[in-house]
C-alpha cells in the first residue's frame, strides 16, 4: 500500500509539473495605442475605489451628483481592500487579469502617480490619458501636479489627478507661545532648530519639539532637500545625490533628530505623537491637522502654514487620482466620470474643509475661494504647488530608492554612521539598484 500511495503522489506531482509547464508565465501583454476620444458615455461603469477612501468620502453622493449630469451611466462602486501599501497586490491582480484580456474595474480611483502607475505604465496595463482628457482640463492643473502625473518612462499621463497632499509645517500655537514667547511658527530651518532648544528647555520630555517621518523618504529627506536645491532629481528621475543639498539635508536631519519624539523611528511615530499632544511642530501634509483634531486636540490650537524655507521656498506633494486599466470595458464612461463626477462641485467641496484635501485644479480652487469655502491653510500650500518638484512617477522610486534611504538614514541617526558614509552608501546602492531595474 505504501508503495502504491507513493506512486500515486509521484503521479500527482508529475501532473502538477505538467500543468506548470503548460501554464504560460505571467507575462504582460504588449501595450496598445490609446482608444479614440469618448463620445456619448453610457452603460455600466465599475468604479474601483481604495477602501481607505470609501471610509473618508461619501462616494454615493458623488455618484448621485454625477448621475444628475449623466443619467445614462450606472456606476457600481467596488471597494478595493487595499491601499498604497498593498499596491503590489493590486498591480498583480491587474496584470493577471490582463492575461485573460479583462479587468475588474473600468476605472480605478486611489492610485498615486509614484506608486502604482509607474509599474503599471511600464507593463502597458493602463491607458494613457493625454488625449482622452481635453487639453483645457490639463491646462487647468497646477504645474507641479501636471508634472507629477507624467510617467517618466514615456512622458505620457496615466493618472487623472484628484486630491493632493501637500507638505507644510503643522504646529501647536499654545506650545510655541509657552516655550518661545510667540505663537508664530518658525519660517526656516534655523528658526526651527532654535525653537527646539526652547521647547526642550520648557517641556523636557513631555513635549517634543519637532517631528518628521523618515520611514518614507518622501516625508522627510525629500521635502527638506527641496528647500535647498532646485535640482532635486536627475534627468532620469532619480534623487540627485550629487547636489550639495543632499549632504546639507542629512546634516540638518542629524541636528533635528534630538528633538524628535522617541517613536520617530517607527512608522508614523511622529504623526502619532503629534496627535497625542506630545509634539509642538511637525512637517506633514494637511490631513494631519484633521487627524489631530479627530484625536481630540483642540481645533483652535492646531495650525498649518507653508513648508519651512531653506535657501528657497519649496514643498513636496503627491496626488491621488484615477487610472483606466487597459482592459476596462467602458472607457468612455470612465473618462466621463473623471471629468464630471470627480470634478463635480460637490466632490470639490468634499475636499475642503471636510477632508482637508486639495483639488489640484486652478478653477476649482478659485470657486472655493470665491464661495468662501477655501480653508486658511490652503493658500500657502497652493502657492508652492505650481513650482515645486513632484516625486517622479517611475518604477524605481518606491522599489529601489526608498528602502535604501530608510536603511541608510536609520544607520546615520541610530547608529552614528557619518553623513559622508551615508551619502556614499546611498549613491552606490541606488546606482546599482536602478541599473538592475533598468
Amino acid at each position: 500500500m505504501r508503495k502504491s500511495m507513493f506512486i500515486t503522489v509521484v503521479l500527482l506531482v508529475i501532473a502538477s509539473l505538467i500543468l506548470v509547464a503548460c501554464a504560460t508565465p505571467a507575462a504582460a501583454p504588449a501595450p496598445t495605442s490609446a482608444p479614440a476620444a469618448p463620445k456619448a458615455a453610457s452603460g455600466k461603469l465599475r468604479l474601483g475605489v481604495y477602501g481607505q477612501y470609501l471610509q473618508q468620502i461619501e462616494f454615493k453622493d458623488i455618484v448621485t451628483a454625477y448621475n444628475k449630469q449623466n443619467p445614462n451611466v450606472q456606476v457600481e462602486i467596488i471597494a478595493i481592500p487595499g491601499e498604497e501599501q498593498a499596491w503590489n497586490v493590486i498591480a498583480q491582480k491587474i496584470q493577471l487579469e490582463a492575461q485573460q484580456k479583462k479587468a475588474s474595474w473600468d476605472v480605478l480611483l486611489g492610485p498615486t502617480p509614484f506608486i502604482e502607475p509607474g509599474a503599471l505604465a511600464k507593463l502597458g496595463l493602463v491607458d494613457p490619458l493625454d488625449t482622452l482628457i481635453p487639453k483645457s482640463v490639463w491646462d487647468d492643473v497646477y504645474g507641479g501636479v501636471l508634472k507629477e502625473v507624467k510617467y517618466t518612462g514615456d512622458g505620457k499621463i496615466y493618472t487623472f489627478p484628484w486630491w493632493s497632499d501637500v507638505f507644510g509645517l503643522i504646529y501647536r500655537p499654545s506650545m510655541l507661545k509657552e516655550a518661545t514667547g510667540s505663537e508664530n511658527p518658525p519660517t526656516n530651518w534655523d528658526e526651527i532648530l532654535a525653537a527646539n532648544v526652547k521647547i526642550k528647555s520648557k517641556y523636557g520630555d513631555k513635549v517634543y519639539g519637532f517631528g518628521m517621518d523618515w520611514n518614507w523618504l518622501h516625508r522627510s529627506m525629500l521635502p527638506i532637500m527641496g528647500t535647498m536645491t532646485d535640482k532635486l532629481f536627475t534627468a532620469d528621475g532619480v534623487i540627485n545625490l550629487d547636489d550639495p543639498a543632499a549632504k546639507k539635508t542629512l546634516e540638518l536631519m542629524q541636528k533635528l533628530y534630538p528633538s524628535l519624539p522617541p517613536s520617530s523611528a517607527e512608522a508614523l511615530g511622529s504623526a502619532k505623537a503629534f496627535q497625542s499632544g506630545a509634539l509642538a511642530m511637525e512637517i506633514y501634509w494637511q490631513a494631519q491637522v484633521l487627524r489631530a483634531i479627530q484625536a481630540k486636540q483642540p481645533e483652535a490650537d492646531v495650525k498649518m502654514v507653508g513648508f519651512p524655507k531653506g535657501t528657497r521656498s519649496s514643498t513636496l506633494f503627491w496626488t491621488l487620482g484615477a487610472m483606466i486599466p487597459k482592459y476596462s470595458e467602458n472607457k468612455e464612461a470612465a473618462v466621463d466620470f473623471m471629468l464630471k463626477g470627480m470634478l463635480d462641485p460637490l466632490a470639490v467641496e468634499m475636499s475642503q474643509p471636510g477632508n482637508y484635501k486639495i483639488v489640484p485644479f486652478k478653477s476649482a480652487q478659485k470657486k472655493l475661494q470665491d464661495s468662501g469655502k477655501q480653508t486658511p491653510w490652503a493658500p500657502p500650500l497652493l502657492a508652492l504647488l505650481d513650482t515645486s518638484e513632484p516625486i517622479p512617477s517611475n518604477q524605481y522610486f518606491l522599489t529601489v530608492e526608498q528602502p535604501i534611504y530608510k536603511e541608510e538614514i536609520e544607520k546615520m541617526i541610530l547608529q552614528n554612521q557619518s553623513v559622508d558614509a551615508t551619502l556614499k552608501n546611498m549613491k552606490e546602492r541606488i546606482a546599482k539598484g536602478v541599473a538592475e531595474v533598468k
Binding site: 517634543y208 502619532k272 539598484g433 531595474v437
Partner: protein
C-alpha cells in the same frame, strides 16, 4: 475497508489491480487529493519551476531559463546569512520562551479540578490566537510606543522596575525582542492546548503509582509527566519551525527595521519577491525553496532524535 493488504508487485499491471481493489478508499480521499494538488502540489511545483527561471514580474520580457544561477546567487548573497541569523535569533528566543510558559500554564490548568474554571482560563489564554492578527499588531504598536504607550509607563512608573525608558520597536537592540514578546503572548495559547492534550493522555495510574512509590511533585513532573510529553514536544518543535520563515510580524510591526534588525529571512524573501526592484520572483522562489529544504531537514533530524529518545 481493505485498501491493499498484500505487498504490491513490481509489475505495473499488479499495481493497477491493487489500486482498483482499493478504489473505494481512493474515491474517499479524491476530494482531498484534488484540493491538495491545486493548493499545495501545483503551487509548490510552480515555485520550484520559478527557481530555475529568470522571472521578474515587472520585466516579463526577460523571462528565461537560467538553470542553477538563482541558487548560485542565493549561496553567495550575504543577506541570506544575515537574515537567517535574525530569524534564528528570533527562533531561539521565541520557541523556548513560548514553550516553557505554555508548559507551565498547561500544567497549572491541568491541576484545576473544577472544569468550568479550567474552561474559562483555557478560553482566556487561547483568545489571542483567534484574534485578527492585524488588530493585535496595531494594539501592540500602541503598547510599545515609547512616547505614550503603556509598557514603559507600567514598567517604570507603576512597577518601579530599574529598567531604562526603552524605544522597543524603534531601537535596533530591542526591536526583535519586542516582536518575540508579542508573539509569545499571541501564540502561547496554541502551544498550551497541545500540552493540555498531551497531559490529558497521560494515564492517571502512572501518577498514582509514582506517588505510592514516594515521588514528590517535582519528581512526578521530571520523571513521569515530561517524558510522556515528548511526542508533544516533537509536534511543537516541528510546528514552530515555521518561525524561521517569519514574515507577518516584522512586516506589519517594523517593516524589517530599524537598521534591518528585524529583517527575517522570510521578510527579505518577501521583499525580493514583491517589493524590491523588478520583483524577482524567480530569485525569491529560490529563497523560499531553500528555506523549505532546510526546515524539512531540521524537522527530520529532530524527529529522528526525538524518536530515539521516545523509544
Amino acid at each position: 475497508m481493505r485498501i491493499s493488504a498484500q505487498r504490491p508487485s513490481s509489475k505495473p499491471l499488479d499495481l493497477l489491480r491493487a489500486i482498483w481493489r482499493g478504489k473505494a478508499g481512493y474515491l474517499f480521499i479524491l476530494p482531498l487529493l484534488f484540493f491538495y494538488t491545486v493548493f499545495v502540489l501545483y503551487p509548490s511545483a510552480r515555485t520550484i519551476w520559478m527557481m530555475f527561471m529568470r522571472y521578474e514580474f515587472l520585466r516579463p520580457d526577460r523571462l528565461q531559463f537560467i538553470g542553477l544561477a538563482n541558487i548560485i546567487e542565493w549561496a553567495q548573497d550575504p543577506r541570506v546569512w544575515e537574515t537567517f541569523g535574525v530569524a534564528l535569533k528570533f527562533t531561539l528566543m521565541y520557541v523556548p520562551a513560548s514553550t516553557l510558559i505554555a508548559l507551565i500554564v498547561a500544567i497549572l490548568l491541568d491541576r484545576v479540578r473544577r472544569p468550568s474554571v479550567a474552561s474559562v482560563f483555557r478560553t482566556l489564554y487561547y483568545f489571542p490566537v483567534v484574534l485578527p492578527a492585524g488588530m493585535l499588531y496595531i494594539a501592540w504598536q500602541w503598547i510599545f510606543d515609547p512616547t505614550w504607550g503603556p509598557l514603559n509607563h507600567m514598567l517604570i512608573n507603576v512597577l518601579h522596575l530599574p529598567v531604562p525608558w526603552t524605544r522597543w520597536l524603534g531601537d535596533p537592540n530591542t526591536s526583535l525582542l519586542s516582536l518575540v514578546l508579542m508573539s509569545v503572548w499571541r501564540l502561547m495559547g496554541a502551544t498550551m492546548i497541545l500540552f493540555l492534550v498531551g497531559l490529558n493522555n497521560i494515564p492517571q495510574e502512572l501518577n498514582e503509582a509514582a506517588r505510592i512509590d514516594g515521588a514528590n511533585e517535582w519528581q512526578l513532573l521530571r520523571h513521569v509527566t515530561l517524558p510522556l510529553l515528548a511526542p508533544i514536544f516533537l509536534v511543537i518543535m516541528v510546528l514552530r519551525l515555521q518561525v524561521l520563515g517569519l514574515i507577518a510580524e516584522p512586516l506589519f510591526m517594523t517593516e524589517g527595521g530599524p537598521v534591518r534588525s528585524t529583517m527575517t529571512y522570510g521578510l527579505q524573501a518577501y521583499y525580493i519577491t514583491f517589493r524590491d526592484g523588478n520583483w524577482r520572483m524567480g530569485y525569491g522562489a529560490t529563497w523560499f525553496v531553500m528555506l523549505s529544504i532546510f526546515s524539512t531537514l531540521v524537522a527530520f533530524l529532530g524527529w529522528r532524535w526525538f524518536r530515539n529518545r521516545i523509544d
